[in-house]
């Protein structure tokens, strides 16, 4: 962990910025700057990237853009621009948007290092999130986490191949033995490599450590009987 962590806070409501600042002021070794628009934020990140770069940027998603000349109109656009320029900075979202569509869209497409909800964030949560982000890990607020898990569950339920794999898995000692017992909708067999990649995805989605854990979790969640 560097001695000083440089953080840029982006929100169009000054009161919110002040509120977040009030949480962050209790954390040590933070150097915080704030801006009220994404365009400002992006230019600040870019200009300081060479000599004194920011480590983390926290941004809201929705911005009230009174100005017509706005280039980056929201948090998603800002994150996209940063990723496009391949700037070495961790991005975090602090927002009021907990609608699954927005959440899913942002996480799926932009892969932010953190997704925190304004409503119930605290000094503790922010500290934990910053630590994880600096380690290169991902932090989602519990509520968001739950939503993603449920979503994965629903998707797995719709995936006939995934369910077949989960059902067949306990019956076979080796994954290679599964080949021949898993079929696609059109009747063709699923190859071992496809089964393995599917299993990997299932493990991440259901946050399972290994295949045994996966089957247990699937049973727990009612995906299989």
């Amino acid at each position: 962990m560097p001695e000083q962590t440089k953080i840029l806070l982006v929100d169009d409501h000054q009161l919110i910025i002040e509120g977040i600042l009030s949480f962050l002021k209790d954390i040590d070794n933070l150097e915080i700057e704030t801006v009220n628009s994404c365009d400002e934020a992006f230019s600040k990140i870019k200009t300081s990237a060479l000599d004194n770069p920011f480590h983390i940027v926290f941004t809201d998603l929705s911005f009230d853009n009174n100005n017509d000349n706005v280039v980056l109109d929201g948090g998603e656009a800002l994150i996209k621009a940063i990723q496009k320029e391949e700037i070495d900075i961790k991005t975090g979202v602090i927002t009021g948007h907990s609608e699954i569509n927005r959440v899913f869209n942002v996480i799926n497409n932009l892969n932010p290092s953190a997704y925190i909800l304004k409503g119930n964030c605290s000094t503790d949560e922010l500290t934990f999130a910053i630590q994880k982000m600096l380690k290169g890990e991902v932090y989602y607020t519990h509520e968001i986490h739950q939503k993603l898990l449920k979503r994965a569950l629903v998707e797995i339920q719709m995936d006939e191949v995934a369910i077949q794999i989960l059902k067949e898995l306990p019956k076979h000692a080796k994954i290679s033995n599964l080949e021949g017992s898993v079929k696609k909708r059109d009747g063709s067999l699923v190859k071992v490599r496809a089964i393995e990649s599917k299993l990997a995805k299932l493990r991440t989605d259901l946050q399972a450590n290994n295949n045994t854990d996966l089957v247990l979790k699937a049973k727990e969640l009612g995906i299989i009987d």
């Binding site: 409501h13 009021g96 699954i100 899913f104 449920k150 629903v154 998707e155 719709m158 009612g222």
Partner: protein, 647 residues
């Protein structure tokens, strides 16, 4: 029963076909038999052939046998038989309207008149027959009839007309190389040329006729031509040369057997030439031989000529008594057979041989006959000319009528065409009108639908704006207030404000329109489902993965989304369901959404629709879709939505 009738039918058919073939055999048997016989004995055999042909019911056979019978009847002057065959031919013509039969009928009519010596009528019918044949382009028939006409005219001393007829016959017979009749036409031309005092031409024609004769190997024809050649020289007073020809004929093989009559003719002519050369020793003998033959063959017309010859012979020898006897005889036969030439000659002889009142009597008779004959000839010639003129005129009239008819027909056809075009134009006009109406109706419907969609979209946009300001402004301000309250330790108020904030957020959620730009329909449905998914409220989605949702109109997808949301909410809130199935089915023209839960259900007759369902119903109707809810208390609820994909 069926079997019996079948066998009966079989029997009938076989017996019919059997008897038919039997009849055909009989016909050919009698025809062959008739071929081997000469003269009038042919007729009964031919009549039998006609009888069996009639029985066989084969038209071509009936036609052929009757024609044969008719022709032979004419040669044998059997008028009744000729009429009989002509009646059959007429019947056949009425039956199958074959123009060649009509031509034949008229031909036979001409032959009948020829037997009856109605020369002008015969001529008339010949011309009628020729006209029919011309229409059906039967060159052989035309040529043959013209040949007959030519001879008819020659006999009536219409030599010019005869020559014209013969020449016209050549026009038809030459192209089809009918050598048989060409031979006869040239022979006829020779005879006519001789009559009009063109012996050189006559000789040329006879030679031509002989040429064809050698091709045809026609022995009988040869005898006639040779005889004519002999007569030609005889008339030129080259008796020696004429004798050469007559003898050529007389030395033909088996002439006495087959061609007795022709033998007599040649012999008679030879005798005449001999007589003229004063080789009188054999003449009388030859004449009496001819006389016997003629009597035997009952050729009384020719007999009168022989008698005149004999009379002349005696007249030269001044044996008047004998001469008068033979002239008297000749007169008798000439009268009987209408041999006018010999009749005159006989009268002339008698007037010369007798004296006084008797001679005067013969002379007067001669003059009267000659005058009447002369008049008759002239009449006949005029008649011929008239008939020819009239038929020509008729033909012209016919052609005029024909062209008139054609014109009229063309006019009618044109009118019909115009009418048809009119109808077509009208029909196409009507169909165009209908089509355009349909098109406009369709277009109007489409436009209406599009307007509907736009209205829906505008509304959604408005909702979006409201939702956005609720979320960003109201909720944001509330949040700040909440934080401040918390900091001011007004926890109770802060808690209350939190609920208000949640409510506002929910409201914003509900209001916010669904758009599929950023997140696809499929993902949104999954998101929606996962929003409500609980371990004790399991939602299963089927049919979502299978279809391409990008192509579906956003308004429809939005409706599906909202319907899904409304149904899930209802099931979760009121139905106490633990399981929910959502099934999407996309067809060519419709999309179906079936949502089934295992909740407590409700009585659809009693329960009013909630505001959510009412809104949904309106939205479905906006898109011309149908919403159907089936439920029974204790048996869950089934929601069935069908939306047309295009207007």
């Amino acid at each position: 029963m069926n079997k019996i009738s079948f066998f009966f039918l079989l029997f009938l058919i076989t017996s019919i076909s059997f008897s038919q073939s039997k009849d055909v055999d009989s016909v050919s048997y009698y025809l062959k038999k008739a071929d081997k016989i000469y003269g009038s004995k042919k007729l009964p055999l031919l009549k039998k052939a006609v009888f069996f042909a009639d029985k066989s019911n084969l038209d071509s056979l009936i036609k052929d046998t009757n024609i044969k019978l008719g022709v032979e009847s004419f040669y044998n002057k059997a008028l009744e038989n000729l009429k009989f065959s002509n009646k059959n031919i007429t019947k056949l013509y009425i039956k199958n309207k074959d123009s060649s039969l009509l031509a034949k009928k008229l031909h036979f009519k001409a032959l009948e008149n020829k037997i009856l010596l109605n020369i002008d009528s015969a001529y008339f019918y010949y011309y009628q027959s020729i006209n029919i044949s011309k229409k059906i382009k039967d060159s052989l028939a035309i040529g043959r009839r013209l040949l007959s006409v030519g001879f008819l005219q020659k006999d009536a001393q219409d030599y010019l007309g005869s020559e014209i007829s013969f020449i016209e016959a050549l026009k038809y017979l030459d192209p089809i190389k009918s050598n048989m009749y060409l031979e006869r036409v040239y022979n006829g031309l020779g005879l006519v040329s001789e009559e009009i005092n063109q012996p050189k031409e006559a000789l040329k024609y006879y030679k031509k006729s002989l040429k064809y004769n050698t091709i045809n190997k026609n022995n009988l024809g040869y005898l006639y031509i040779i005889n004519n050649l002999g007569l030609l020289y005889q008339n030129q007073k080259d008796y020696k040369k004429s004798i050469l020809y007559f003898k050529k004929g007389l030395f033909q093989d088996s002439i006495k057997k087959k061609y007795f009559s022709q033998y007599a003719m040649l012999l008679e002519n030879l005798a005449f030439s001999n007589y003229k050369l004063n080789k009188k020793d054999s003449v009388l003998h030859q004449y009496s031989h001819v006389l016997n033959i003629r009597k035997k063959l009952k050729e009384f017309g020719k007999l009168s000529a022989t008698l005149i010859n004999i009379s002349n012979y005696y007249k030269d020898l001044k044996q008047n008594k004998k001469a008068i006897f033979y002239s008297d005889e000749a007169l008798k036969y000439a009268k009987q057979t209408h041999n006018n030439k010999k009749w005159l000659e006989a009268l002339e002889n008698l007037s010369q041989l007798t004296k006084g009142e008797k001679s005067k009597q013969y002379l007067r008779e001669y003059i009267t006959l000659n005058d009447s004959l002369f008049q008759k000839e002239r009449q006949l010639k005029n008649q011929f000319a008239k008939i020819r003129y009239e038929t020509d005129k008729k033909e012209k009239e016919n052609t005029v009528l024909k062209t008139d008819n054609e014109k009229k027909q063309a006019e009618i056809a044109y009118e019909k065409q115009q009418k048809l075009i009119g109808w077509l134009v009208a029909a196409s006009g009507i169909s165009l009108f209908v089509l355009s109406i349909m098109f406009f109706v369709q277009r109007r419907r489409k436009l209406l639908f599009q307007a509907q969609l736009q209205r829906v979209q505008a509304r959604e946009h408005e909702r979006q704006q409201i939702a956005k300001s609720l979320h960003d402004e109201v909720a944001g301000d509330l949040r700040l207030l909440h934080q401040k309250l918390e900091k001011s330790n007004l926890l109770e108020e802060a808690q209350k404000l939190d609920t208000v904030k949640d409510n506002v957020r929910n409201l914003s959620h509900q209001l916010s329109s669904v758009s599929f730009d950023k997140v696809s329909f499929k993902d949104q449905i999954i998101n929606l489902v996962s929003d409500y998914f609980e371990l004790d409220f399991r939602i299963t989605v089927t049919g979502l993965q299978e279809y391409e949702w990008q192509t579906i109109n956003d308004a429809i997808k939005r409706l599906l989304y909202l319907s899904t949301r409304e149904s899930i909410q209802n099931s979760k809130k009121y139905a106490e369901a633990s399981k929910l199935t959502i099934d999407f089915t996309l067809e060519k023209k419709y999309v179906h959404l079936n949502i089934t839960d295992n909740g407590i259900g409700f009585d659809t007759n009693i329960s009013k629709k909630g505001i959510g369902l009412q809104n949904l119903q309106e939205r479905v109707e906006e898109l011309n879709g149908t919403l159907q809810i089936d439920s029974e208390v204790g048996n869950g609820t089934k929601t069935n939505i069908q939306i047309p994909l295009n207007a």
